[in-house]
Symmetry: C2
Subunit: 365 residues, 2 copies
């Protein structure tokens, strides 16, 4: 067997005009795609990865630029790119190569900005399906993703039951809780009320950088757990802060960390995309237009491995339990793994030892 070369291929795929659920048609849609591994002759080793809110197509990457799921996917890893051909796309509506609010509208010659319509989770999945068609890829071995990506995974199983053999929804749900929608509403208000937002028509300006930073700060707390924050920061102050006499300038390490995370996101993410992806998650409901969750899940043909994190504050574990229960009730092949992690919701991006081996086995069965 030849040495496995850990390479990633990047391309942009034109999928033509695309009509969204809201009725609007985007006249020209491009999808940024990255692949890792090699497509086999039977074309039956394709694994599609769906990213979360601030993710992108760079899931696997290479030695020089490891991707965001590099610890899970790669040569010899739990998702082994020496066996599988792993495809990741930046979502429609995103800001890392796929058509989104910062793209130029062919109609006006200017960025869509605030005029870019809502892209639903189902729109995102239909765009993925069309992109795969253009790439000559039919049936998928597995679709895998966490959080918003997990919502897409579940839609794959319901929208294209004949196209996918296995699905792995992680730290996700059929629909957000009201608390998650509430946090998103606070984030939205922070972004939209920032004078830099200008109704979304801020290009080429920096946009609502403060609002987006606040949104990210809120997010970063809800993605983790109190246990992790206590271990990582406790009540330690930043160096140079006087701990004997409190002052208005007293800065805690946790505050400094959150501000840093806020500023970091601003440099790599577009606020208009952020707003649309939040709203796509808020309004998503696997049962919408299908009568009930039970009816929606009755369409599933794929084997399902659901992974949940028991400490997840944003997608509580009971939501993954409910999915599993409903799938079993509908007579589907369903397994559930509930892991423990102080990372909370973010665990699926950080800790693989408790579920990676079971994922590997599930893929290979």
């Amino acid at each position: 067997m030849p040495a496995i070369v850990h390479t990633a291929a990047k391309q942009t795929v034109d999928i033509g005009p695309f009509t969204l659920e809201c009725g609007d048609t985007l006249p020209q849609v491009e999808i940024a795609v990255e692949t890792a591994g090699t497509l086999n002759a039977a074309k039956d080793n394709v694994i599609l990865v769906c990213h979360a809110l601030t993710g992108d197509a760079h899931a696997v990457g290479d030695e020089e630029q490891p991707g965001w799921w590099d610890g899970l996917i790669g040569p010899g890893r739990f998702v082994d790119t020496s066996r599988y051909f792993v495809v990741t796309m930046n979502t429609l509506g995103g800001c890392h190569g796929s058509t989104g609010p910062a793209s130029i509208s062919p109609d006006t010659g200017k960025p869509y900005g605030g005029d870019f319509p809502l892209v639903t989770i189902r729109d995102m999945v239909r765009a993925q399906r069309r992109c795969l068609d253009r790439l000559g890829l039919g049936e998928l071995h597995t679709v895998i993703g966490g959080s918003m990506g997990g919502m897409m995974v579940l839609e794959w199983a319901v929208m294209y039951p004949g196209h996918v053999k296995k699905v792995v929804p992680i730290a996700t749900a059929a629909a957000l809780t009201s608390v998650a929608v509430g946090y998103n509403e606070a984030a939205r208000h922070a972004i939209q009320s920032d004078p830099g937002f200008q109704g979304g028509h801020y290009y080429p300006g920096p946009g609502p950088v403060n609002g987006l930073a606040v949104a990210r700060m809120i997010g970063m707390i809800t993605y983790r757990t109190e246990a992790l924050f206590e271990k990582k920061f406790s009540r330690r102050l930043q160096e140079g802060t006087n701990s004997d006499i409190p002052s208005l300038d007293s800065l805690f390490q946790v505050g400094s960390y959150l501000r840093y995370q806020g500023e970091k996101l601003v440099h790599r993410f577009d606020a208009n995309s952020y707003l649309r992806l939040l709203k796509a998650m808020d309004t998503h409901d696997l049962a919408r237009g299908r009568g009930s969750l039970e009816a929606a899940l009755s369409r599933v043909k794929a084997e399902v491995l659901t992974v949940g994190i028991r400490e997840d504050l944003l997608f509580p574990y009971r939501q993954q339990e409910e999915l599993h229960r409903e799938l079993v009730a509908a007579g589907k092949s369903s397994r559930l793994i509930g892991i423990h992690s102080d990372y909370g919701h973010d665990a699926f991006l950080v800790e693989y030892s408790d579920w990676g081996p079971q994922l590997q086995q599930f893929l290979e069965e």
Copy 2:
């Protein structure tokens, strides 16, 4: 026995120049005070109430304008104003009658604004002590308060052990968790980055109304629980929102509720005070300058009844358990009540049936 008249008396007490922990002296400090009930001849029936972040001196109120703790305190209630003389002060640094950032500085003839210094929890308590002196009130029967008010209650027991017979700290802690500080940091960034903030020098303008609203929205989620949000809102949409086709304008009831709460606070609370009270809570630590929590609590002479809410996300129940454990270890008279409530942290402002009777008994023993 004559009919009990449910009356509240309001006054503003001049406590003169006041030097803060930070070293700054406020040349003239006034404290807004409300009382309910009647001071007895022995002056031994005084109960001091300490308010939380956005509270004020209007704890008891009357039939026309019930106070924020009207359900707990009043004639024949758990804290019976036919027996006790209940005193509540707006905190120093606040914005409801006591000297705070919106007050006129005698030095400049203008509002302090961004120049108003940090008032610590200990400063607040010293100001209360001086205000009580001016009112001719010495020993306190009981000091009671929740959240930030609970921090003040604990300081009362440690700073003035000879002045207070009983204390009732509720839903509070010796110091905030890193997660709570983190949420406050996000709130702070929202307020301070709002262009309306102008470094705190926004009077007579409206100030950072959007930032303060975002801060309140974040707060309202953390003060409650997911269970309550699911019961109250679930995923219901506002009337007039199309549930069949999601859009950027889709508005959930939870979002509408939070925006309403945000807007409501903006009309009744000053952002500069909000910032200072947040920082007072962040930097508060009962152990600061006292060697250890154990050493701090060794000063306590009062009997302590701690009330905690097991679902509290902001002041986790383990913090009240720790307080109780340390008090018991130090040989103090300490009792702990742990209640359950879907209201989470806010339960102390809403639900009294599970702890009111025990509070009443504790007061009367």
